[in-house]
Symmetry: C5
Subunit: 335 residues, 5 copies
C-alpha cells in the first residue's frame, strides 16, 4: 500500500546504459527494454520516478526479481534509511532532502536503490532529483563513472544525496543567523516559534542522517561480491561527510538551545525593566500625593495654611522628596 | 498468582490446524483435542483467551510441558517483553497495545507465545486481539502463512502486534496536534496536564517497545532449530518497524518538551502583558492625582485658585502630562 | 572495623541442615556445631544475625576459611552489591530493603552470602529478614528447595530479596499517587519537599539495584562448579525481575520530574492569578480617585460644583468609567 | 618543566628496605645509597618528596633508568591518573586528595609510582601524605606487607590513597548537610554560591576518580610479570572502593541539583509571599481612599455632608468594605 | 574547490631535508627540488603554506601521487580531523588552533599531513604556525628528531598542535574567570552574551578535539609499516594530552552552565530586591494617604477638625502607623 499523497502522474522509467566506450539513454515503457545488454559488461542504470502505481511497481519488481519485502519498503515510503543484502542484489533506502525556497521548508523524498552485479535501479517518489550532475558526467564521460562498475554508480548516487544535505544545512544555518539578529533587536514570541520550528526541523534531519551513517558504515564493512574493495575508500569518504552533517546538526542544536536561553532571559529582562521604571515613577509620586493630601485636610488650626510661604514651601518640599528618592534609586543602581 | 483484575469470564481456547491443503478451526474444551495431528506436518495454533483461571492454565501448561517459570510469567501479567529458549520451544512475551477510543487511553495486554516445532500457543489476557487478519488469511489461504511453518506463524503474530503500534502512535500524534493548536489559541493549565499525561503515555510505550526491540533482535540472531533461516528476513523487517516506532516515540517526546517550553513562555508572556498594561494605566493616573491633590490643598495664598483660568488650565496640564507619558511609553515600545 | 550503629545485642547464629529426607534446625553457639554432616550430601544453611561483634565474626571467618577481604566486606557494611569468586566459595553482597511503615522510610540492610559446595552462610546486620517463606518451605518440604543443592538455596535467598523490592516500590508508588492528588488540590512547598525526598529515595534504590543487576548477570554467566547449569534459568528469572525493578524506578523518576514541572507551574499560575485580580481592582479605583480628587480642588470658578446635578453626575461618571474598564478587561480575557 | 608553585624547599628522599626478617629506613642524599640490596630478595621503597628541582629528579630518573616521557609526567604535575607499562617497570600516576580543614578546601597532590620487580619509587609534590599507616605496619611488621612483594606495596599505596577519598567525601557530605539545613531556614544567595562551589569540587573529584577507576581496572587485567596473580583480589577490592567513591559522587551531585531546585523555588516562594501580602494591603486601602476622596469633593449640594451621621457612617462603610475584601481574599485562600 | 576566503597570496613551499649528520632547508618553487635524496635514508619535510591555488596543489598532488580524495580533503578545508591509510602513505587531517589576542577569538586552521616512509608533507591554510620549535630543534639538532624517522617528525607536528590547545584553553580559562568576577559585581545582559559566546567556542573546540582523540588512538593502534613500534609510546603521550584537553573542556562547560544559573538567579534576586523595597515604600504611604484623605472630607460635623490638637495628632497617628508597618516588615524579614 502506497502511503504518500495520491497523484495521477504517470510512473516514468528512464534507462541509461553505458560502458567506457558506449552510452545510451532512453525513456522506456517496459523495463524489459532496459536489458538488452544483460550479462554483458555494460552498466545499466534504471531510474523510476513515482512509486504510487502499485501494479507498475509490482511488475518492475517481478522483472527484477525483487523480494516482496523490499518492494513493500519501496512503495511504503517514509522508511528509515537501511541496507539489506538479498545476495543477488543489495537494497538501500535513503532520504533525499531538498530545500523548498518558496515555503522555507525541507522536503524529504525516499530514494530506494537496488544494486545488482551490473545494474542499479533507483526509485524516487517524484520527478526532480539531485542526480543531474551524475547524468551529465556519464553522458560527457567526465570523472571516473564510465570506467567503473555498478557499485561506483551506486556510491555516486549516495554521495550526491549526502552532498545535498550540506546545502540544506546551509539554509538552516542562514535561518539560525537571521533569528540570532532578531533575537537581540526584538525578542517577540514569533522568534520563539521560529526557534521551535527550526528545532523540529533538526529533529527530522537527525532522524534521516543517523541511520544513514549506519547504512554507509555497514556498506563499507560489508563482505559482498557486489561491492569491490576499491570502492571502500569512496564509501569512507561519504561516511566522513555524514559525520560532518551530524556534527553540524549537533552544533545547530546547541546553538538553538543557547538562543532559547537568550530569548527567555531577554524577555524577562525587558519585562523587569518595564516594571522597574514604572514602579519607580509610582513610588516617587505616592509620598508627594500624601503631602498634598495633608494640606488638603480641613483642620481649623493648621498654621502652615495661613502663612503666605506655605504654598511655595510645599513645592520646595515635594521637589526635595522627589529628588532625594531619585538619588537614592540612582545610588542603588536601579536607574 | 494472577495479578490483573479478577473476572468471572471463562477461559476460551481456540484451535486452528492447517497444512497447505487442509484447514480446521474449532473452540475446544480440553487442549488435548488440539493434537490429533501431532508429529504430523500440520501446523497447530492454539489461542488461549484469559489467563486468570490458574487451574486451567496449569493444566494447559502440564499438557504442553511448559516450564513452571514460563507459566508463572504467562499468568503474572505485566512482564517485560522477553524471549527465552527452553530448547523444545521458545517462550516469547510481548505487549499488545490497543487504543480505546472511548476513554482516549492506551490499553496494554500481555501476549505470551510458545513456539514449538509445529505449533504455536498464544495466551492473551482478554478476548479481542489484533490477529483477525492473520486468521482470515489462514482460512482463505491468502499470503504465505499456509505454505510456511510454525515459525512464520509466530512471526506473523509478532508482526501484527508491532503493526498495531503504528495505529496507537497515530492516535497519540493526533492528540499532540490537537494540543498544539490549543497551545497557541488558549494556553490553559489543562493543556499542561494533557501534555504531561501524553508524556506519561510515551513513557509507558517506551517501556513496551525498547525491550521488544531487544527481543526481536535476539530472535533474529538466535541459533535455534525452531526458527528457519528463511524467517530471518521477515524478523529483520519487524525489527525495522520497531526501530521506526522508537524513532517516532523519540520525536514525539522532543515535540512534547518543546511544547512545554512554548506553554510556559506563552503563559508568562500573557501575564507580562497583563501586568504591563495595568501598571501603565496606574502610572499615568498617579501624577494626575497628585495635581488634583495639590489644588485641593487649603492654603490661604494660592493665586491659581483665584484665577478664572485655573480650573481649565489644570485639565490642560493633566492632558499634557498624560499624553507625554503615553508617548514616552510608546517610544520605549512598552505599548 | 564495623561502621554501622553500635549495639549490645548478641550475635545470633542459626543453623538449618537438610536433605530431601532429613531436616534439622537449631540455634547454635559455636559454628562448629553446624558441620556434623560436612562432606555428606546434606545442605547446610547458616544464618548469622548481627555483624557488629568483630571477634565473633572473625572466629566464624576462620572456621569457614573466609578470605580476610571478604570478611572485611561483611563487617564493613554499606558495600556496593557485588560477587567474588574465591574458588572454594562464591561471596555475594546484596542490599535487603524493607519499608518501615511507622516512619515511612526505606530501611537498607546488607546481606552477605557465602555459597560453598554444600553450604550457604548468610550474614545480616539485624534480626528480621525476608527469608521467612524460604524457611517454611524447607521445614514443610514444599517447593523444590529440599530436592536441590546449595546453589538453589542461594538463588532462593537472592530471589526473596529482589521480590521484596517490588513491595518497597509499591509503597513508593502509593506515596507518589498521594502527592499527585495533593499537587492538584493544594500545591504547598511541603509537596515540593516530599517530591525531593522521594527523588532521593529513588536515588538510593537505584544505587542498590543497578549493581545488583550486574551481580546477577555475572552469576548467570559465571563458569563455576558451585553453580549448576540447571540454576541458570532461575537466575535469568531473577535477572528479569531486577530489570523490571529498574524500569519501575526509571518510570517513577520520570513521573517525579513531571510532577516537579506541574508543581512549579501551578505555583506560578496561582501567584499570577492573585496578582492579576488584585492589580485589576487597584487599576479600576485609581481613575475614580482622580475624579474625586478633581472635584476636591478649591478653584473659585468650577461651574460643576455649583450645579445641583454635579454630585450625582460624578457617581454616574465613576460608574461608567468603572464598567468600561471591567468590560475592557473582560474583552481582553484578563477576568 | 615543573608547573606547580615555585618553592625553595629541598627535595627529600627517604628509603625503606625490608625483607620479612630485616628492616631498614633512612633519609638519603643520593639514590644510589638505596640499592645495596639490589638483585637481592629485599623490597626497596624510595619516597621522593618534592618534584620541583629538575636536576635532582633527572638524576634520580637516570639512576632508575626511567623513560623521559614518564619523567616529564612526574615533574609536570596535574596529569590525569594513568598507568603505563615500560616493561622493566610500571608507571602509575594518581591524585592524592587531602581535605584542608582550615580553608575548607580539597587539596590535590599528584603521586607518581614506579613499580619495579623488587622496588617501588613514589614521587610526591610536597611532604605530608596518607602513607603513615603503611610505614608503621612495615616497621612493626604488622599485616601482610613485609611478607609480600613490591606489587603488594604498590597496591597498599594505591589503597591508602583511595581510602583517603572516603574521608574527603565525608567532609563534602557534612558540608552538604550543613547547607541543607540553612536552605530551609534562610535561603540566601550565599547558599547558592556554596552549592555551586560544592558542585565545582565534585567536578574536580570526578576528574580524579573516573580515570583512577580505569587505571585500577587496567592494573587488575594487566598481564605483567611485575604483578603477581595473588594481588588481583586486592586490586579488585580497591576497584570496588573507587566504584563506591564514584557512586557517592553521583549521589552528591544529584542531591546538589535537587537542592538548587529547592533553593530557587523557596526564593520565589518567599518573594511571592511578600508581593502577595503587600499587594493585599494596597488593594484594601485604595477603595477606602476613594471613599474619603468622594466626601472631600466641594459640591455645593451633597446631602450626606450636612447630616450629623455622615462622618461616623463613612467609618462604618470603610470598615464594611475593608472586611468584605479581607473575607473575599481569605475565601480565595490568598491570605 | 577551495572553500575558505579567497586570497592572492602565493603558495609557499618550504623543504627541510635532514639526516642525523646532515641538514638542509630551502624555499622551493617546484616540489621536485625536494626529492634529491629520495630513496636515501634522509628525512624530507615539505611544508606547503596556502591551499587556495588549485593548480599548484594538484601539481604537488600529482608529484607525490596523492589520491584525489585526499587532495580534495586538503583543499576543501573545514574537514573533521581524520586518519586514512593509503598504504604508501598515511593521510592525517588536524585542526590547528591559535588564539588571536586582538579580537579575543580562536582561529582554526586545517593542517593536513602526508606521512610517507621517509617524508612528511604538511599543508596549511596560511603562513604562521606552531611548528617553530620543531624547526629550531631540527636545525640545532636538539632533542631526538634528527635521530628518528619520518614517523617521529609526524608525531612531533601532531604534538605541537595538541600542546598549543592548552594555551588556547588557558585563554578561555582566563576569560571564564573574568566573567566570574563580573557576575558577582554586576550581572548585566552583556555577561550573559559573553557566557553564550564562550559556550559556542567550547562547542567548536569540542568538535575539533573529540575526533582528534579518535585519530590519535587509531594511529597508535594502527598496524602500518610506516609507524614504528617505538613511536607508540609517544603517541600514547599525545593521546593522554588530548584526553586532558577534553577533560578541561568538560570542566569549562560545567562551570559555564553553573555560571548561567548564578547569572539568572542573581538577576532575579536583584529584581526581587528592587520590587520589594519599592512596594514596601508604596504600601507604607497608602494608609497614610487614606488618613489625610479622611480629614480632607467636608462633613459639617467632624469633631476632630475643631480641636486644636487634631492636626498634630494626625502626624502622631501617621508616624505610629508608618513605624508599625516598618516593624512588621522587619519582623517578617522583608527588610
Amino acid at each position: 500500500m502506497y502511503v504518500g499523497k495520491k497523484k495521477d502522474e504517470k510512473v516514468k522509467v528512464t534507462c541509461i546504459i553505458y560502458t567506457s566506450e558506449h552510452f545510451e539513454e532512453q525513456k522506456v515503457k517496459s523495463i524489459d527494454d532496459c536489458f538488452p545488454l544483460k550479462d554483458k559488461p555494460a552498466i545499466t542504470w534504471i531510474n523510476v520516478d513515482g512509486v504510487h502505481k502499485l501494479d507498475k511497481i509490482e511488475q518492475i519488481g517481478k522483472q527484477l526479481k525483487i523480494h516482496p519485502l523490499a518492494l513493500e519498503d519501496i512503495v511504503h515510503t517514509g522508511q528509515r534509511p537501511k541496507m539489506e543484502d538479498f545476495e543477488d542484489y543489495l537494497f538501500i533506502v535513503l532520504n533525499m532532502l531538498q530545500y523548498d525556497e518558496e515555503i522555507s521548508e525541507i522536503k524529504t523524498e525516499q530514494v530506494s536503490l537496488i544494486l545488482g552485479s551490473n545494474y542499479v535501479v533507483s526509485f524516487q517518489e517524484d520527478e526532480g532529483d539531485v542526480f543531474g550532475l551524475i547524468r551529465e558526467r556519464i553522458r560527457a564521460d567526465r570523472g571516473r563513472t564510465r570506467k567503473m562498475g555498478a557499485d561506483y554508480l551506486a556510491y555516486s548516487l549516495v554521495d550526491a544525496i549526502v552532498d545535498h544535505y550540506f546545502m540544506v544545512l546551509e539554509k538552516v544555518g542562514e535561518q539560525i543567523e537571521d533569528i540570532e539578529d532578531e533575537l537581540v533587536k526584538n525578542p517577540t514570541p514569533e522568534v520563539l516559534h521560529t526557534i521551535h520550528s527550526l528545532k523540529r526541523e533538526l529533529i527530522y534531519l537527525r532522524k534521516s542522517v543517523w541511520p544513514l551513517r549506519e547504512v554507509i558504515s555497514r556498506l563499507e564493512r560489508w563482505e559482498s561480491p557486489l561491492i569491490d574493495k576499491s570502492i571502500d575508500i569512496y564509501l569512507r569518504d561519504v561516511y566522513d561527510h555524514t559525520i560532518q552533517v551530524i556534527d553540524a546538526l549537533e552544533t545547530f542544536r546547541d546553538m538553538l538551545s543557547g538562543m532559547l536561553d537568550i530569548y527567555l532571559s531577554s524577555v524577562s529582562n525587558r519585562m523587569n525593566e518595564v516594571m522597574k521604571v514604572l514602579t519607580i515613577i509610582a513610588t516617587i509620586f505616592i509620598p508627594l500625593t500624601l503631602i498634598a493630601g495633608i494640606y488638603g485636610m480641613n483642620f481649623r488650626y493648621m498654621p502652615e495654611l495661613e502663612s503666605p510661604w506655605g504654598y511655595p514651601m510645599v513645592y520646595v518640599i515635594m521637589l526635595a522628596v522627589g529628588l532625594e528618592m531619585l538619588t537614592y534609586f540612582r545610588r542603588k543602581q536601579w536607574l
